[in-house]
Symmetry: C2
Subunit: 200 residues, 2 copies
């Protein structure tokens, strides 16, 4: 029995980030599916764990955390030593910078485009695809000269940013014209312990 | 002479976060205004510092950082000890959780509404105000039972989240019906070293 539970939705890229990072760290985690189609995320008991009414939520013993990026920070600090999130000021800020790109530019780009196309969310799909072109161009340029996003090794920056970029084709944002991004996704897929998700 | 420079825009809440936190830490910082109206943020030399073409950017000696939340992390780790951003897993994740709220829900709520009303950005103002009502309701409930957002003391979570909440009236999102949020803004304004910005 594990005391570590992820409140999960299989097709959520944000939940997948947590599943992937647990796998890379070699951590067991029990998956508790939340039925978003039935609105379970907006009702008790889930809403009592996370008033924001969103997956993922991680429960690790007495600790309950929301937001995929914050959960990655927790897991990295608790189980990853300095490897995945260093504590020196420049190293930590460099990683956090890309966590913010995941939460902002990538979410508002390929993330929102996929919400529209795959799940029928009423978002501005053209605006999201324009945002996607902007952030993918920046990522491509960065990854032409860097193997990993933040440091000279994989960090939670890569875990946070990869899923919605690699799922872009489900929102009309394919990666055909971004070879450096494709190569980076390939490097993440080659990490020991990597697990996939549907459509990835 | 200081080797610390903030590439700044006076009316940007994101730049203000950095000015405010430097003031609270007692750090000198030279302000280098970037003329966004003239498009200086999209051209050399600024774009070479930050390919994203956004303020703020902090230069501290050889270190160059973008994104207000990442800059707060850097300053907290370098100059703030454990006070403003602790390094224990739960404490750090609790702070980062609210940095993500600043980057996501607050930006997509009162932040976008202000971009529309004050600066004429072509964003969905009604959608932004609906987002604002949602996040302000969550903040109000949280602050009815907590003096500060993340821990039992002020952290960079409070610095990151306050500006666009307190500027909401410039985007048609006043705080009249949110007394707990108003009291929290008041506590931040009472911190030793606090500095204001226009409309705050």
């Amino acid at each position: 029995m594990t005391a570590r539970t992820l409140y999960d939705m299989e097709l959520s890229g944000n939940c997948y980030k947590v599943r992937l990072f647990c796998a890379l760290l070699g951590l067991d985690v029990a998956l508790e599916p939340v039925d978003l189609m039935a609105g379970a995320h907006k009702q008790s008991p889930f809403i009592d764990l996370n008033p924001f009414g969103q997956v993922p939520v991680l429960q690790d013993g007495d600790v309950v955390l929301r937001d995929s990026q914050a959960i990655l920070v927790y897991l990295a600090r608790k189980y990853g030593g300095e490897n995945w999130l260093p504590t020196d000021p420049v190293g930590m800020a460099s990683v956090v910078n890309w966590l913010m790109v995941a939460e902002n530019e990538i979410a508002r780009g390929p993330g929102d485009a996929r919400l529209h196309d795959k799940f029928g969310f009423p978002v501005d799909a053209d605006g999201a695809r324009a945002n996607a072109a902007s952030i993918l161009g920046l990522l491509e340029t960065h990854l032409e000269e860097n193997e990993w996003l933040a440091l000279d090794r994989p960090t939670i920056a890569d875990i946070a940013c990869m899923p919605y970029v690699a799922l872009g084709h489900e929102g009309g944002v394919p990666l055909d014209s971004y070879p450096a991004i494709q190569a980076w996704v390939g490097r993440i897929k080659a990490l020991p312990g990597f697990v996939a998700m549907p459509a990835l």
